[in-house]
Amino acid sequence: MLFNSLTFLIFFPLVTIIYFLLPHRARWAWLLAASCYFYMFFKAVYILILFFTIIIDYFAGILLENEKNAQRKKWWLIASLIANIGVLAVFKYFNFLNGNLSGLCTFFGSTNPIPYLSILLPIGLSFHTFQAMSYTIEVYRGNQKAERHFGIYALYVMFYPQLVAGPIERPQNMLHQFYEKHVFDYARVVEGLRLMLWGMFKKVVIADRLTLFVDPVYNHPNEYHGFQTILATIFFSFQIFCDFSGYSDIALGSAKVMGFDLMVNFNRPYFSKSISEFWKRWHISLSTWFRDYLYISLGGNRVSKPRTYFNQFITFMISGLWHGANWTFVIWGSLHGAYLVFGEFTKKFRGKLGARLGLGHFPLLNKLVQVSSTFVLATFAWIFFRAASFTDAITIIKNSLQISKTQLGMHILGTDAYNFVLCFIFIGIMEMVHWFLRKGDLNFVLNQLTLFTRWTIYILFVLFVINFGMFGDHQFIYFQF
């Protein structure tokens, strides 16, 4: 079920009202049933895969907790991780690996005998698999007690607001919340609804409108040049941010309405002054997952400098692969890894250069340069993320360099001026809001305002969504991961 659908508009209030009307002991079952329905709305049969990982990890958790022998405990963890990664490998990476194998076979003059699997990727597979894995790892590390209530554990994996595109939660943050009795708290519900409205604005008003300009260029990269491709790429930077952070805000908001706190997933990432800061603000739940469970396991920064750089690079490369079974994602992750390593490597030099240029006397200019260069680097990397293939990405880069005056115009991408102008207006409005949000989160800022101003803002944003939302079957980009 999509958050930006009429079905969700009916589903959400219905689930929430019944949730509050039910006695506490029955609520988990209601939420679990609602979450199953939510997930089955996409493709019902794939819930079996979810149940498979839930059963494996539920028992793995108990076994891990009961096991006193450290060696055997480790083997239980490995077995559980293999089961989870195995599901990912089959459904997400099998054809990718097989394709590469076929390439290798062709190179050596033979044919690959392994057939391709004709299966659809279950929606949000990487998200709930990673969430399930974080549970077993935390139980293994002794940071979390094994959950004995099967229903609650299943709900931890399946809780509908974050089931298909995160945030990838940790058991320490979520499990106890399912035991707490949540009463209908007016202020909290309002805060949740505000987040949902903000998320909806970003998704349907901005992200889905930007699609109109991004898709033609990236679907037919040979046909567009210069400003057209540059603008489409910049638009994609905003599209993916609005799409994914919009989803996260709706997820956080809908959970908040019911009394649950999910982790914040985005914090104005395009205001970052460096790539390392960018990753502290972008898809926070995933970057901290990789930090906690991969980067630190590899030794983190408590090893030699070259090894730290290697750890950073490999973490980002795998993070790229997590997004999709395509070399473009690997390159995207590797690019970010390279940015980070390069940034660390040149930190001193850049500091000295900045001092020589006297940038310290112009803090605003300094910040502007840093923010802009981070944005340019992130945007460049998005080319690989969005392009269908490596060849397409190279075409986009090459064509971006072919700038001519004729490409400039009111609607340089060939679509209608109405939507083109609206894109700029609404990105402007969003960045204005982001500027206000430097002081605190959305609810903090809104709570400082007078009732009249708050209501004016509510009405304005509802009007934006109603009048300028792009409604239709617009999936969230991150659902495919």
Partner: protein, 345 residues
């Protein structure tokens, strides 16, 4: 929870009022959300003095009544224009008729009104501008009453309530309608819907606006010949009373009041029952047709009386006649009109 509900209701009401005011500012004509009807209306406004007769209805009117042929058979007693458009149901037909007679300047003598059924609606169409832009509270309520009283099954009726209420709510809030206003404002006049001789009649074969969709329907129809036989059987079953039918009284009341209003204006109304409807559609419309007090009714639906309308060679798709079929249909309609006129005179 109640406090929150009240506040959300206030918020949405304010949004509705503001959007309503914004839409007032655009000063939109009554047919703005249906480009086919709008283009016909624009043409008619300019040249309505030429006409004394109009045909109002759905695609069955649009595709099957040729005004030029009709006028020649009536010996030019009529100078007619075809107002039929695709994708509308009874409530929208009445909405258009009501607006046309409200804004007419010419002396309208005859109105041929197709007795159409109510659409249950569909997920695909629910959010389209054509489904919602014209809905007022009374139009919506009328539709709801008709669906509740209809011969559709329980599930279908529930669906119908849903598919007709969502567009109404969207219309109240003007949800996702601004882009359609923009499209309307920048759209160039389109004369394709007027057809040859600007009569408003376009047979299915000569459709130029979206011929692919029609062709798809036609191919599906040709593939399965049983569809045609089923349609023929439907028309007989309901007339033979082998199918249980109940009267949709809300529909009858509305239709009767519209007819008497037109009579008071000196306009003669001829109610037309077209061929090739589905069984449930006949179950809904035939009792109304039989109960209309007016003697000016033309029944061209019954398979036994007009078998040619259910022959493959005169059919275009499941619900419509082809060009040849339309010619026969127009002839029969005109003949029936002449007969009724001579009887009245």
């Amino acid at each position: 929870m109640i406090k929150l509900g009240i506040k959300i209701a206030i918020l949405l009401s304010l949004v509705g009022v503001i959007n309503g005011a914004v839409f007032q500012f655009f000063q939109l004509p009554f047919s703005w959300g249906n480009s086919s009807f709008y283009n016909k209306e624009m043409y008619w406004r300019k040249s309505q003095t030429q006409y004394n007769t109009i045909f109002v209805g759905t695609s069955r009117t649009f595709r099957q009544i040729n005004p030029v042929l009709f006028d020649s058979i009536t010996n030019h007693e009529t100078q007619s224009f075809n107002f039929g458009v695709i994708g509308i149901s009874a409530a929208q037909v009445y909405y258009y008729l009501d607006k046309i007679i409200g804004t007419r300047e010419a002396h309208l003598k005859y109105v041929f009104l197709e007795l159409a059924d109510f659409d249950i609606g569909s997920t695909e169409n629910m959010h389209t501008i054509n489904e919602k832009y014209w809905l007022s509270l009374s139009d919506w309520w009328f539709t709801i009453k008709c669906i509740v009283q209809s011969n559709y099954g329980f599930r279908e009726r529930i669906k119908g309530l849903f598919f007709n209420t969502i567009p109404f709510i969207e219309q109240l809030l003007k949800f996702d309608m601004l882009k359609d206003v923009w499209q309307f404002k920048i759209a160039a006049p389109n004369s394709l819907v007027l057809g040859e001789n600007s009569t408003g009649f376009v047979p299915a074969e000569e459709e130029k606006m979206n011929p692919e969709a029609l062709l798809e329907k036609r191919n599906a129809f040709l593939k399965d010949t049983s569809i045609n036989e089923t349609r023929s059987r439907y028309s007989t079953n309901v007339f033979n009373k082998t199918v249980r039918t109940k009267l949709v009284s809300a529909h009858l009341i509305k239709l009767t009041s519209l007819i008497s209003r037109l009579h008071k204006m000196g306009i003669e109304v001829f109610v037309l029952l077209p061929p090739r409807m589905r069984e449930v559609q006949y179950a809904n419309t035939i009792p109304i047709f039989e109960n209309i007090a007016s003697p000016q009714k033309i029944n061209l639906a019954q398979g036994i009386q007009v078998p040619e309308f259910y022959e493959m060679r005169y059919s275009f798709d499941a619900g419509h006649l082809n060009k040849e079929g339309a010619e026969i249909f127009t002839r029969k309609l005109a003949t029936a009109f002449v007969k009724l006129k001579s009887k009245n005179d």
